[in-house]
Every structure is written in structure tokens, then in C-alpha cells.
């Protein structure tokens, strides 16, 4: 079920009614959330509900077992079991064909005959998100960061909670799970925030991301137009993926807020950053912190010296790239960012960081960061090695297609509202700054955004980009 669909609006309206009816019983509420979340997920393909249930049930049992076992060896074995099962599920559905295909190509190039057929498997929507979330529970119990829950229904609700299940944010167990085990209070500010985030998130997805998507398609193919179009097309994709994913995350948070839950922010003005390191603190925050806490630190972090820290950063980003999709362009994208972060570390170790950089230096730093980020988007969006090469080569081609003017106009029109809003949020240092407006002004802004959503709503529905991961 897509947030940007009529069926979701009906689903959510019905859910709110039932949620209100269940207000006096915590177990009833959690059962309702599980049922609604499984319906939400099963709307896409009910056959994968069993996988979701198995992943949740297995990690719940593992967490319970880790807490009961007294021996370190046994606890470690259970944790490894969780990792193997979750990565096994992920590997089978997401990476099996990729690795077999890549191995076949490699061995054929080495002259070794290798014939293992690929499997005709469907990638379950959101599998990377819920397996990571479920697995992090076993990690946290093992590390002693949380106490395992005895309540199976709460755990099922925590993993499957429909606002965030399909594309995150990947929640911290210590933040979200306790909310399913206590009574919640829904205040007026929470409602205000929830309503605002749902409207703004929907605007970003329906009006900006989905309108920019056809512009991106005009540029990203095997015979790309000239440099200007490729550059604008890459900017367009940077806008599309940001509005698509942050729009989804805002709707997810907004929906949860209306229900009384608090799920983490996933984006914090990522394009207003002057270093790559800062970019990753602001972009897909739930994944970058997950990778930091469960992968980078597990690899040793920076505890083994600067050289090893650089290797760990690079490996973390490489695997972060592979997490996104089973294709070499995602690996390349991860490696690109990993190399950028390493270069940034080395540069700051050699030159130090000035406390008060000049405006010119800040601007140059922003420009360099955005170059890395947006060339990274080119790698991310390109469908093949051939396309990466063709588009990179096209950056040296001065010709321009006849539609470049219309392209630039459309891109400017759809970029303007985002720039205006983020500039306002940046200046006010407040992501919820529209809520500080006077009542009538806020109503006017929200109403105008709703009108825009209605105008663009009738266009063909597009799934959120991150659903495929």
C-alpha cells in the first residue's frame, strides 16, 4: 500500500477509528497495529507475510534466549544465529542472483566454465529495513543495551509498525519498542506536528518527486544528451530522491505522531552541509547511525589507529552501498562516498580544521561536497556500467538538446518550494518552523500545499524509490 494512494487514505481513516475504540486496552491496540500493519504489507503481496512473521519471531526468540543463557559462548552463538538467519534471508532474496551472475561473468572471463542458473525470486518490499531492525534487537540484547521483551505481540508490532516498516526509518529498539509497552499520551503539539509532516511529506512526494521523475528519465539512458542536460538531470535526480525519501520519512513520522508514537527523524537539511561527514549525519540518519553502531564500531571503529579507521569507514560505506541494491552501481556509489570520507579525514588530519572558516572557504567546501554527493547520485541512478561511462563521457559534450530550456524551467519550478522551505528551516534552526506561524497563516500554507497535492495527485502513481531496497 502506498502512502500516496486513495486506498491508504481510506485505510488510515478506518485505522484511526479502530485505534480510538481500542484506546482503553494496550494489548488490543498492539494487536490492532499488528493486524493493520500486516494488512498494509500484505496489500502488496500477502505471500511474504510469513517471511515477515518468521524474521520477527526468530529474533524475538533469540533475544529471549540470549537473556536466559548464562554462558558467553552460548549467547554469542545465538547472536550469530540471528545474524546468519537475517542475512541469509536478505542474501537469498536480494543478493543470490547478483552474486551468482557476477561470479559467472568473472569465471567466464577467466576461462572457467560455470553454469549455475539464477533463481526467479521476487524481492520482498522493505526486506532490508525490517531485517535490519529485527536483527538490531538481537544485537542490543546481546550487548546489554536493552532488556528483552517477553511480550510477543509488542515485538511483532515494533517490527511491523506500518508507518515505518517498508522504507524506514530503521528504528532503534531502545526508542521504539518501549512505546509499545506503555500507555501513550497524544497532545495537541503532537497532532500539529503530525498533520504538518503528513502534508509536507505528501507535497514533497506527490508534487516534487513525482513531477521531477520524468525529467530524470529523459537524461538517464545509454545515449545521454550533452553536458548541460546530464548536469541538470543529475541535479533533478538529487531533488527527486531527496523529496521521495524524505517525503516518505516525514509522512511516516507524521503518521506515528498522530498515533502518539515518536519515531526518529531521518533527514536534517542534508544539502546544506559543507563536509561529507556532516552530509551523512543528515542523510538517511537511521541507516547511517545503524551502520556506524552495528558495523563500523563492530569492525573496530577508530580504536585501532587512523589507518584502520579509514579502512573501516571505506568498508562500511561499501557495504552501505550494497545494502541499497544488488547491483555494482550501488557498490560503486558506496565506494565513491567511502573514498570521499577517507579523503576528507586525511585532509583534515594533515591540514587541521579552522574554527572560523571564511565564507569563501565555506562556499568552496559546500561546492566540493555537493560535487561528490551529486556525482554519487549519477552512479546511484545509472542502470549499468555502460550508462555510468556514457553519462560521465557526456559531461564533456557541449551540445544541448532543444528541450533544455523547458527542462531547466520545470526543474526550477519544482526546486523553488523546497529551497524556500529549507532556507526558512535553516535560518530558524527549526525543522518545524511552519508551526510557529500564526493560526491563519499556517492554515493558509497548509491549505495551499493541499491544493497543490490535489492538482498533482491525479498523475500516475509512483512507488517510493526506497521501497525497492
Amino acid at each position: 500500500m502506498l502512502f500516496n494512494s486513495g486506498i491508504f487514505l481510506q485505510f488510515f481513516a478506518a485505522f484511526l477509528l479502530l485505534y480510538w475504540l481500542a484506546r482503553n486496552n494496550l494489548t488490543a491496540r498492539n494487536l490492532l497495529i499488528v493486524a493493520a500493519s500486516y494488512l498494509f504489507y500484505g496489500w502488496w503481496n500477502w505471500k511474504f507475510l510469513g517471511l515477515l512473521f518468521f524474521s520477527s519471531a526468530f529474533d524475538w526468540a533469540v533475544g529471549y534466549g540470549i537473556a536466559r543463557l548464562q554462558t558467553a559462548r552460548g549467547r554469542k552463538a545465538l547472536l550469530l544465529g540471528s545474524i546468519l538467519v537475517n542475512l541469509g534471508i536478505l542474501g537469498f532474496f536480494k543478493y543470490y542472483n547478483f552474486f551468482v551472475g557476477s561470479l559467472t561473468v568473472l569465471l567466464e572471463k577467466l576461462g572457467v566454465p560455470f553454469h549455475t542458473g539464477t533463481l526467479n525470486v521476487i524481492l520482498p518490499v522493505g526486506i532490508s529495513f525490517y531485517t535490519f531492525q529485527s536483527m538490531s534487537y538481537a544485537f542490543d540484547v546481546y550487548r546489554g543495551h536493552i532488556r528483552p521483551t517477553r511480550n510477543f505481540v509488542s515485538f511483532l508490532a515494533f517490527v511491523s509498525f506500518f508507518p515505518h516498516m517498508v522504507a524506514g526509518p530503521i528504528q532503534r529498539v531502545s526508542n521504539l519498542l518501549p512505546q509499545f509497552e506503555r500507555s501513550l499520551v497524544i497532545t495537541r503539539p503532537m497532532l500539529e506536528e503530525g498533520i504538518w509532516l503528513m502534508i509536507w511529506g505528501m507535497f514533497k512526494k506527490v508534487v516534487i518527486a513525482d513531477s521531477v521523475a520524468p525529467l530524470v528519465e529523459m537524461v538517464f539512458h545509454d545515449e545521454p544528451p550533452g553536458a548541460a542536460a546530464v548536469a541538470l538531470g543529475t541535479l533533478a535526480f538529487g531533488l527527486q530522491i531527496y523529496c521521495d525519501f524524505s517525503g516518505y520519512s516525514d509522512i511516516a513520522r507524521g503518521t506515528a505522531r498522530v498515533l502518539g508514537f515518536d519515531i526518529m527523524w531521518n533527514f536534517d537539511l542534508p544539502y546544506i552541509t559543507t563536509t561529507l561527514r556532516e552530509f551523512w549525519r543528515r542523510w538517511h540518519i537511521s541507516l547511517s547511525t545503524w551502520l556506524r553502531d552495528y558495523l563500523y564500531i563492530s569492525l573496530g571503529g577508530n580504536r585501532r589507529g587512523p589507518a584502520r579507521a579509514c579502512v573501516n569507514v571505506f568498508l562500511t560505506m561499501l557495504l552501505g552501498g550494497l545494502w541499497h541494491g544488488a547491483a555494482w552501481n550501488f557498490v560503486l556509489w558506496g565506494a565513491w562516498h567511502g573514498a570521499g570520507l577517507v579523503a576528507e579525514r586525511v585532509f583534515s588530519m594533515e591540514h587541521g580544521t579552522r574554527n572560523t572558516p571564511t565564507p569563501l572557504r565555506r562556499f568552496a567546501s559546500w561546492l566540493a561536497t555537493m560535487f561528490v554527493v551529486f556525482y554519487g547520485w549519477l552512479l546511484f541512478r545509472a542502470g549499468s556500467w555502460h550508462q555510468v561511462a556514457a553519462m560521465t563521457k557526456a559531461l564533456a559534450n557541449p551540445s544541448a538538446p532543444p528541450w533544455l530550456g523547458s527542462f531547466a524551467l520545470s526543474l526550477a519550478v519544482f526546486t523553488a518550494p523546497l529551497v524556500a522551505m529549507e532556507f526558512w528551516q535553516f535560518r530558524a534552526k527549526n525543522r518545524l518552523v511552519p508551526l510557529t506561524l500564526a493560526g491563519w497563516a499556517r492554515a493558509l500554507l497548509q491549505g495551499a500545499l493541499i491544493v497543490c497535492i490535489m492538482i498533482f495527485w491525479t498523475r500516475e502513481k509512483a512507488a517510493f524509490i526506497y521501497f525497492q531496497f
Binding site: 499520551v185 539512458h221 492554515a443 493541499i450
Partner: protein, 333 residues
């Protein structure tokens, strides 16, 4: 966890909830009222919803049919006429201005007749020749599809195209979304055309498609590269008789009507097709009463010259246009 524990409590009143939810709807209502008033009192520009490939073509042709023109040769028909003939080249070859008003196969002959009437009304004494070109697959169709017919009919009537049959359509009509999209947005913002079928790659935006058609006197090209597929079943629909008579009646007095069938891929159509095409032309013309039948036009072309089973690839258009010019030359003189 205590199962008797409350799920949640709310710390706001119903009145407060209403104050949060209702005010943002006020601008929505004001927008709807403004659009309705603009529509009713003529404060908005006329509808021109060229928001995708089909509607851009329909609106371009409808506008061309009503514009002043000195065209002496007017082409009408389905998309095989639209995409297979370069009207500008044809005019140059004949030494007479040619205009292509063809649209799609899912509009019937009665709709093509409507465009011809519009042209004749806007341009008394013109055209000298009407050329009706249809693909054989189009001849077995019963009538127009409702959607494109509604788009064209509403456009010609200067009305917004509402779709009250569905919930979303009703909301769009009442909220002013249809009026805004068709009257304001379509003019203010170029619509990117889909890349998947190649239109985006060739034309870029709807404005690019319309510009191309204007530059080529109403003709377009199909950027597709698909192999022919489907059912090579060619016959005349029973409803074609009345529609053909209606079309004949729309041809102004003194104007010659010439009719032809556009080519199909040779291997796809089969060896017996040329004879069948002759039979189809004869039978059809018994209803249409055209002044001449363009039997000289090729019945088939090599499969690689077509995309799908109906449209010529751009490289094959000049030769086919020349063949049409040769067939028309005696009639023009």
C-alpha cells in the same frame, strides 16, 4: 506489561481537534470557488489540456482545423496518416500547401469528418483535395473510444473535460483541479513526455511535440522501434458504412475526396494481403463514394521499415510521402 493498561490518552478537546483540521480546508474551498467562478464568468483562459502525448496531438489538430489556412490538400485519418506522411514534404513536392489533420485510430470516421467540417468552415473554398488515409486495422473498429472523443469534443466546445463517473473525477471537477490543470497549468508548465515509448527522447516536452507538428504542417513521427505484433485480421466494420457516408457528406462541394490504405509490414500481413487490400478499398469506397482510390500506394513495406504494425520509422517516411505525392499529382493538376 499490564494488559489492563490504557492504550493512550488524548490531551486535547474535540474543539481543539476541529480547530487543527478544519482551517487548512478553507483555502481548498476558496480555491474551488475561485476556479468555478473563473470557469463560469470567463475569467480564466479557455481550456487547453495538452497534458500528455494524446491530448497534445488532439488539441494541436483541433486548433489547426479551426485556424485560417491556405492549404489545398488536407490529410485526414488515423495515426498511420499522422505519422507516415510528412505534410510539409508533400506540399513541397506537389507545389501546393498540404496540412495533416489526422489523429488516431480510436477516433472514428465521424470524428475525422468533424475536423474536416471545422476546417471547411474556417476556410471557405478550401481545401481542393481531401486525402483520407487509414490503416487496415482501423477499418474493423466499431466506433470512437469515449475518452479521446470526450477530450476532443469538450475542447472544441470550449469546456473543461470532467469525469464525473469516478470519485476522483468528481472531486477534481468540483474542486477546480480540472479547470486549473486544463486552463492554467498546461499553459504555464511544459509537460515532459514519457521516455519509455521514445516520445520523450524525440520531443522532450508536450510543447516540443506541438512545435514539431506545427513545423511539419501537422505531421509527427513515431520514435518507437517495436516489432509488429497483434492480429493481422483485416476487414470492414459494419458501422463503417454510415460513418463513411457521414464523412463523404462533410467533404465540401467541389472538393475531391481521395482514399487510401496505409501500408502494413509485408511478412506480418502475409502474401495474400495485397489482393485483400484491393478488395477492402473497393468495398469501402462503395460506401465512401470517393473521387479516386489510391491503389498505387504500396500495400506493404518491408517489416524493418515499420515500428509496430502501423507506423513507419522516420527513415521510411520520405519515400512513402513521395509515393503519395506521385499518386496525388494527377488529381492536383
Amino acid at each position: 506489561m499490564n494488559s489492563k493498561m490504557k492504550s493512550h490518552t488524548v490531551e486535547f478537546t474535540r474543539k481543539e481537534l476541529l480547530k487543527l483540521v478544519a482551517p487548512p480546508l478553507v483555502p481548498v474551498v476558496l480555491f474551488a470557488l475561485a476556479m468555478q467562478a473563473g470557469e463560469r464568468f470567463g475569467l480564466l483562459p479557455a481550456p487547453r489540456p495538452a497534458l500528455d502525448v494524446d491530448r497534445a496531438i488532439l488539441i494541436h489538430q483541433a486548433e489547426a482545423s479551426r485556424a485560417r489556412s491556405d492549404a489545398e490538400v488536407v490529410l485526414l485519418g488515423d495515426s498511420s496518416c499522422l505519422m507516415n506522411v510528412n505534410a510539409r514534404q508533400l506540399g513541397n513536392s506537389l507545389g501546393r500547401r498540404a496540412l495533416n489533420l489526422a489523429t488516431f485510430s480510436y477516433l472514428d470516421l465521424g470524428t475525422h469528418a468533424r475536423l474536416l467540417r471545422e476546417f471547411a468552415q474556417a476556410n471557405p473554398g478550401h481545401p481542393g483535395i481531401v486525402v483520407l488515409l487509414m490503416h487496415p486495422e482501423a477499418l474493423r473498429r466499431g466506433g470512437s473510444e469515449p475518452y479521446p472523443l470526450d477530450v476532443l469534443t469538450h475542447y472544441l466546445a470550449g469546456e473543461d473535460h470532467h469525469r464525473f463517473g469516478t470519485f476522483a473525477g468528481t472531486v477534481n471537477a468540483l474542486s477546480g483541479v480540472d479547470a486549473f490543470q486544463g486552463r492554467v497549468m498546461s499553459r504555464a508548465l511544459p509537460t515532459p513526455l514519457p521516455f519509455t515509448n521514445g516520445f520523450g527522447r524525440i520531443y522532450g516536452f508536450s510543447t516540443g511535440l506541438e512545435r514539431f507538428m506545427t513545423e511539419h504542417n501537422g505531421s509527427a513521427i513515431d520514435p518507437g522501434t517495436n516489432a509488429a505484433k497483434g492480429n493481422a485480421e483485416y476487414r470492414l466494420s459494419a458501422t463503417l458504412e454510415n460513418l463513411s457516408r457521414d464523412f463523404r457528406a462533410a467533404v465540401p462541394p467541389g472538393t475531391k475526396l481521395l482514399v487510401g490504405i496505409t501500408p502494413v509490414p509485408a511478412k506480418f500481413a502475409g502474401r495474400n494481403y495485397p489482393a485483400l487490400r484491393e478488395q477492402l478499398l473497393r468495398d469501402w469506397n462503395a460506401w465512401l463514394q470517393a473521387d479516386a482510390v489510391l491503389s498505387e500506394l504500396p500495400a506493404t513495406l518491408p517489416d524493418e521499415q515499420l515500428t509496430g504494425s502501423t507506423h513507419l520509422k522516420p527513415a521510411a517516411i520520405p519515400a512513402y510521402t513521395e509515393a503519395l505525392a506521385a499518386a496525388l499529382r494527377t488529381h492536383v493538376q
